[in-house]
Structures are given as C-alpha cells and as structure tokens.
Symmetry: C2
C-alpha cells in the first residue's frame, strides 16, 4: 500500500494539503475519522478520545514516553485509547492506499514505509488562515490567536515526543517539507502528488 502521512503546524493548511492529495491520488483520507471510529468502538465520547489523543496524556507524564507504555502513570483508559489507535492506524494502512493527517501516524506506521510530509508556514500566514476557523473562537485578537496556535503545536510536539526521540518537525525525519506561506494549496498539491508517486516508485526499486 502507498501510505502518505501529513504532519503539520496548526494553521499551515496541512489538513487541506492532505485532503486534496487524497482527492488527486484517489487515496482514502483519514483525519478526525480515526477518533470517531475509536470512540464508536470503545463506546466513548469522541471529544474525550480526541483530547486524550492530542494532549490529554501528555499532561500527566514526562516528555519522553519512550516505547514502554507500562512505566508511566497514565489512566488505564488513556492507555486503552492509545492501544486502540495504534491498532486502527495499522488496520487502515493495511486496507488501502491512504493519506493520514496527524495522529503521529508518521511514527506509528513507520514499518509501512510511508511517504512523510511536513507542512509548515510563517506565523503571519497561519494567523491569516486561522481567522477563518470558527473553532478557534471568533473573537480572539491576533496575539491571543498566536498564543493559541503555539499552544496547539506544543501539544503536538509533546505528543510526538512520546513516540520518538527526534524533535517534532525536524526535517531529517520527513521526506518533503513544504512551506505553504503565501501559496495557493490547490495549485501546489498536484506537484506534491507527482513527487509522491515517484517516491513510491523509487522506494520499491
């Protein structure tokens, strides 16, 4: 299977890159679908699952989680969610070509040799994009919004650190790092898709 993982700074348009890449390539697309499915399987509230996956766990545990689940004082429920998530990601990766946004899929699915993309942008561009996000709260000042963006990314970085010793966002861990500042994402995605196709071809030689 061809697996593409998209890691992204909040507000950089990484989700749009992922969605459009999946459309262009005809791949399945996974983003919040992962939490929704886990919540369904575990009979839990999807909001709780999402929180546990994105930040909840890192509040109570040290920065470096390493790869041993047992040695940290996490709630059993959080461990269960994490285990279920890893199982789900592997199911998904085995089922069909797909694009997965976030969820530390870049690390969790490493054995599947995914094409790993990191999407980032200047703060000015991210602020501009975020003005359109209702979920960010509509009455934030730019300064408050910048703070919120940084907080979300710090959460992602900490979450990532549970699985990997390399700092989140270091280019060495990715195959392609795309700075979307000022770009029209719709236009650049076909080029990323072409690049990915050649990458998959090359990785099988």
């Amino acid at each position: 299977m061809n697996i593409i993982t998209i890691s992204r700074e909040f507000g950089s348009g990484g989700r749009e890159v992922g969605k459009r890449l999946a459309d262009v390539l005809g791949y399945a697309y996974y983003d919040r679908e992962i939490e929704t499915e886990i919540a369904k399987r575990m009979h839990m509230d999807v909001g709780y699952v999402a929180k546990a996956m994105e930040q909840g766990m890192t509040r109570n545990i040290p920065l470096h989680f390493g790869r041993t689940l047992a040695s940290y004082p996490m709630l059993k429920q959080q461990v269960d969610i994490l285990v279920e998530k890893q199982r789900m990601l592997k199911e998904v990766a085995a089922a069909s070509d797909c694009v997965i946004v976030g969820r530390a899929a870049d690390v969790i699915l490493e054995e599947y040799k995914p094409f790993k993309v990191f999407v980032y942008a200047d703060m000015a561009y991210k602020l501009k994009r975020c003005q359109g996000y209702a979920e960010m709260g509509e009455n934030l000042t730019p300064r408050e919004m910048e703070k919120a963006i940084k907080k979300i990314d710090a959460g992602r970085s900490q979450y990532h650190a549970m699985f990997l010793d390399i700092e989140w966002g270091r280019k060495e861990f990715y195959h392609l790092c795309v700075n979307t500042s000022g770009m029209e994402i719709k236009k650049i995605v076909p080029h990323i898709a072409d690049y990915a196709r050649d990458w998959f071809e090359g990785s099988r030689r």
Copy 2:
C-alpha cells in the same frame, strides 16, 4: 527575475538538483562559476578564492559574524573577496532568471525574494553518492568519508552563520526541503520545477 537558491548537505545531490532545475526551467546556472569569475576579476587563484569563501574565513573568526564586516579580524583580502562575491551575486540575480547553488545566496539575495530550496539526505545515501566523487579522495573508508562529509557541512553551517542568526538547514528559512535519500534526482526535478513556477506566480499576487 526568478531566482532559485539551492542550499544542500554535502553528498545529498543538491548540485545535481540545481543543475537539472536550471536545465528544465531554462534558467542560468551558477555554482563554481562564481569563484571562477571572482578569481578572474581579482587576479587571484581560484582555489584560494574558493577556500576563503567556503571555510577560510571562519577559521579565524567567531561563529556569529552578524552583518558588520569591520568588527572581525579578517584578512583584508578575505573581506575583499566577500564584498566582491556579494556584488557578483547581485549582478547575476539582476541579469536573468537563475539557479544558484550554495554561496549563501539564499541570505545574500534575500531582497530579490528567491525561491529557497534545501536539499538533504540520510548519511547512508550521502556515503553512497560520495563513492563516485573523485575529489573526496578515492581511498577513504566509509568512516573517514562520513567524517569528511560532516566537516564540510560544519564549514557550510559556520559560513552561513556569518550572515544569518538562524541555524543552517532549519526548514523555517526555506520554501521547500527535499530529502533525496533513495530518490532518482532526474525524476523528481520536474516536480520541483513545477512547484517553483507556482511559487513565483503566487509570490507576485
């Protein structure tokens, strides 16, 4: 003018990326041509000029050069070379669309709004590529070669630090970071060229 700068880890194939990009786009290409021309203009040996530009100056001065030439104990000749280099890069950038590999052109030409690419790769891939480089010395063991590669990159990093406070190779400073590990450069360059075309179009909107 459309200016593309290629910064690259030694052995990653950045030079080949630059050369092929220039071919595909029909742009002028500059790499060692810069030193050759400076040497000609200054009636100096090209080897000396190259050494001074790539590493010579950093041997005697602290890591952060900032932007004031006057405050560091450089040889007058080295300062002259640096000044001539900056003049030449700007001449070149004003003359025609071009691709420039290395030479800290990404920083020196920032006012020309270049499309900035960083090319990197895993050490295993770089070692493999370097086996073909006669100039690396043909009898180096892999361990010696790895040491040599790291030394060259450390020189580039230090040279870059004279002009810019951001660490060399930080993705934030570039528009696209390309990991060439295992890739056939000939195949991926057309996609980078397409990406660059859209970037130039977008940057003028």
